[in-house]
Symmetry: C2
Subunit: 636 residues, 2 copies
């Protein structure tokens, strides 16, 4: 009688479908519950809350204090000093005029300051996405023969990137970025860093001719085919600059307080390089320079967007791919910096901000921008408090564009190359790769797919193959869920995996199987065969002892969802076992599972009395029944 | 001291990575363990086993007995009687000459008899895939203006289908078919049946002009636009035939023993129709007939395959899509019939057989074949025992092709339409759709996506959108795993979901969270936020009672895998909780998870003594620690 007193499994929650659906949808698309704070507020106050939710500046600006501004001012000036060399260098990577890189550090940061939700992110152009953009457009439009059309297509791509980001944010599809795993990003960034460094041989060696391809083989080939163009002046200067930059970084690693030396060093290198080139009349001595930079603010580029040209599809593709990788970098940077300060950022809100800043950027002669890692880290270390540091940076850029731009004419290309090389060296995370190899071999494969794919084939191939591998892995996991046989852990009433706990003992005649994750169309036929194999194997073991398999307990505690094919599978398995005279019991089904089993009448087929709260209950109940049957036999 | 005596979690299995990888790969691609029976056999015997594994006829033919042949002969003749009308009808659906349909029931069944592993499958052409093939090729090549090129492309498509099936089988990718869920098949088949029935209005009303589109709107439009072409003779004959066929089916449902009446009825309708058309000189009375059928066996069509033509991509696409749906039908039919006889079939072996039969078919003037449901069910009910029934059918077709083919010239098209309509009515499973709606709303959506997509847009759209939905669902499940708070079920030492068991009681100061499925890159950032929300919510509840949250237990029993991003998440969560002074414990991690946690040093960070075998252990251990601390306080 003991088993009657045990609590039983609840078979229904009584929650109607509509409510369940609502809560599922909410968990999927609004996991951060953005509107929870608005509940219970009065009408007008509520409208303000909603507005300031979408426009974060309304939230932080009214509370802004002078003490905060001191910090933001310092941080803003520091990142502006980084924005100049990075803007020029990465624009060269994207094969567009250097001034566009400076423009891109003016309009977008202002937009981000209004709509962005991260206090640490510094906006600007990024190396990897710039190169990806160029390699994607270059195959259709030559930046050398059609420089204008190429530039316009780059603007149009930025516009599409903006639309894409905005769309993702509005439809709360931040979930998409989750599918780019950290391993894939590590590999992709490492591979990109290497090919970007390879690209710099053009600048470092002062080459006139180079390849437009990005893979290792083509680049090495181009470097050595043009040996006659090598310029020792360029090389010496380049190595000198690299040494200075590495020294500054080393200093920062030793004395973290001197991070600003490292932050300002690229600007120093550019100024130094400019002075050398100017005094030595570099161009005639084998040191090519950037060339004329026009004074003045971003011109409006609305009429240059190419919506009717045949190149619109090129721009769309380039915009989506480079935008995706830029977005992923921006979100990842924002998240990790927020974590350091124990703040939280909302990926969907960030996407809206990125979207708006890229759309506005594309209308004002800017190209693809996001939150680059290097700049944001400097911003963080410089002690930024709010997005105001982006405003300060934009004001600095305003001054540069209005008054100082022509001075950067003498910047030697080799200085830009040196800056890029040193920045890229920091992106090759060998330690992280080693760690991946140690902890998770599959993650290491994903990382290597991206890394080697980028280096030897192309950036898009590397990115897509590693993402594909990650998704295939996730799907394979759905398609091949683990099952295991449970045994009683000696001295307890617990039942655990017999492979994990070899001391645990099985009970003759009873097979306990633990099912896990989801029982879905994608794994139903696999599970059917797998269970049949378990039953066959157990039957053979027991037969050797002269007994029969009489009872199967499915531990459903780990099954978090089931669909119609999964229920069909359970019916089939039950039928198969019944025909062999084996009794079936279920233990601990979760609510979402048990409700479906009730709706499909599976619970009635098994019998309510065969659904237990724990494996131990199921086992003791069966022993109890056996004992009773024995007693009855004896009585007769 | 009590907790010391409890068994602890085993932290390593000592199984090397290579072995784990091997067993994982085996579970993924060889879940049926095909070579298990070969182990321990001698050299020559083993070679024979392997050979007969790949060529199943070597297994069953040597044991073949006359008694089996009696059954197979009867079944073979029955399915041959079905193969003639179906061959002609479905060839018309594919817009190719009717004789190709007859050819397709000759060569492919012979191949299947050699390589196929199912004892129940009857090979032939199928309605849905025929229409899909036609609708896919028709948009590029007109079957009216370029009938030869169209036919050659159909052959080429069959060749690609064969290659595709063979490749899937050899690389053991049977797993791909698992991603076509039963709900998607139900919806797709139902929708296809409806548009195929709509297509039959052409034959039933004797129309001369018709649309080449398949969607509902176009077809209804075409039927009513051509009202002047309606022929009452055709319609009357058609309705009569449909009545006969429905009557035969009704008879079968009432008296299952008379299944052969139903099986032979289509042939009867064709013969009857032929006689009527011949005696009444049908063509001049508005009853179009099939027309000349050439005597003779399948001509060789090797030289007609279009590998160099610009249409090769059309053939490839059509072959892959129609091949995929045909394969899915064949595998599903094979599986469900095998289940009825308690046999097992190997999906990968079936794919190899389908591949070979389609390649050989494409070389001998056959088009796409698979194991159609109707024919195979008849084969099963007629008592087939081995693939020999396919050989019998092929011999019957041989006789028909050599001697009787010209007789079928007078077959009225309306008889074919009637046969198709009745066959298709059986594929619309309204009951199953109702069941889906009751049990699983999402599955119902998948089914409706296929059903409505096929009816209103097109077959490919319906198929792909439902498959896409299914995969998105699987991925969403990976991206948004369920977490729940556990409480103590009164009167036991069990801890269960507090929402499912509202009577269960929580312990003040302790939060127990159950994690589930996999902790992956795709859900790591979601889980981080979700756990933070749980902690915040619990903190607020407890604070109201004047207490602090001191202890968090993560029940890892349901977590079947973890990757590098997932481990990163655990580190971050641990850091976040530690900074709030909350102690973390893990319970019951599985072997594959715990090994990675050890490798990543996470176990050391948490502390080995905080990993427990069960939630109850973790709770009582903590209470014990608290009690001791209290005692110490009192002593001081």
């Amino acid at each position: 009688m003991e088993r009657q007193s045990r609590p039983t499994v609840l078979l229904s929650s009584g929650i109607p479908f509509g409510k369940t659906l609502k809560s599922r949808l909410k968990e999927t698309f609004f996991p951060d519950d953005p509107f929870k704070h608005f509940a219970g507020q009065r009408h007008r106050r509520r409208a303000w809350s909603v507005l300031s939710y979408f426009v974060p500046i309304l939230e932080w600006a009214p509370k802004y204090k002078p003490s905060l501004f001191a910090s933001d001012l310092l941080a803003g000036i520091t990142i502006a000093s980084l924005a100049i060399p990075q803007g020029i260098s990465y624009a060269k990577l994207a094969d567009i005029p250097p001034i566009i890189g400076l423009y891109s550090s003016f309009a977008p940061p202002l937009m981000y300051a209004v709509f962005g939700s991260s206090n640490n992110l510094a906006v600007g152009n990024v190396a990897a996405a710039s190169l990806l953009l160029a390699s994607s457009i270059r195959s259709s439009i030559s930046p050398v023969n059609e420089p204008e059309m190429y530039l316009y297509t780059v603007f149009t791509a930025a516009f599409f990137t903006g639309l894409f980001d905005l769309g993702l944010g509005i439809f709360r599809l931040g979930i998409l970025v989750d599918f780019l795993s950290r391993s894939a990003i590590t590999g992709f960034m490492g591979g990109t860093a290497i090919i970007i460094i390879l690209q710099q041989f053009k600048g470092l060696l002062g080459l006139q001719h180079f390849t437009t391809k990005t893979d290792l083989v083509s680049v090495v080939h181009a470097v050595f085919m043009n040996r006659h163009e090598w310029r020792w002046q360029s090389a010496v200067l380049g190595l000198g600059f690299i040494a200075i930059l590495l020294l500054a970084r080393h200093l920062k690693d030793r004395l973290p307080k001197l991070f600003w030396v490292n932050a300002i060093c690229p600007l120093f290198v550019i100024v130094l390089g400019g002075i050398i080139a100017f005094t030595a009349d570099g161009k005639s001595h084998g040191i090519p320079i950037v060339g004329d930079l026009k004074k003045g603010l971003n011109p409006i580029s609305v009429s240059q967007l190419q919506f009717n040209s045949p190149n619109v599809s090129v721009a769309l593709k380039a915009g989506l791919i480079s935008g995706f990788i830029a977005l992923a970098e921006g979100i990842a940077v924002g998240r990790s910096l927020a974590l350091l300060k124990k703040e939280q950022i909302d990926a969907n809100k960030e996407m809206i901000a990125f979207g708006i800043m890229n759309i506005v950027g594309s209308l004002t002669s800017c190209y693809l921008t996001t939150g680059p890692f290097s700049k944001s880290a400097v911003n963080y270390h410089a002690g930024c408090k709010t997005p105001m540091s982006n405003v300060v940076m934009a004001v600095c850029m305003l001054l540069v564009l209005l008054f100082l731009a022509p001075l950067f004419k003498y910047t030697p290309l080799v200085a830009l190359s040196a800056i890029i090389v040193v920045a890229m060296l920091g992106l090759i995370e060998l330690r992280e790769m080693q760690h991946l190899f140690k902890v998770d071999k599959f993650d290491f494969c994903v990382c290597m797919a991206a890394f080697l794919g980028v280096i030897f084939v192309g950036m898009e191939v590397g990115l897509l193959s590693s993402m594909g591998l990650s998704i295939v892995r996730a799907l394979l996991h759905v398609a091949r869920p683990t099952t295991c046989k449970l045994g009683n852990v000696t001295g307890t009433d617990l039942y655990r995996d017999v492979e994990q706990y070899p001391d645990s003992s099985t009970i003759p005649g009873i097979l306990i199987l633990q099912l896990s994750s989801t029982i879905y169309f994608a794994n139903a036929s696999y599970l059917r065969e797998r269970i049949a194999r378990w039953v066959e194997a157990e039957g053979n073991i027991i037969k050797a002892k002269g007994q029969d398999l009489q009872y199967i307990i499915f531990d459903m505690g780990g099954v978090s969802a089931i669909d119609n094919s999964g229920i069909g599978l359970l019916f089939e398995v039950h039928k198969m076992l019944e025909s062999k005279g084996i009794k079936v019991a279920l233990t601990n089904p979760r609510l979402s599972v048990v409700e479906k089993l009730v709706a499909a009448d599976f619970i009635d087929v098994v019998g309510k009395e065969w659904i237990f709260l724990s494996v131990n209950d199921a086992v003791s109940s069966y022993s109890f029944t056996l004992q009773q049957a024995k007693n009855d036999d004896e009585h007769i």
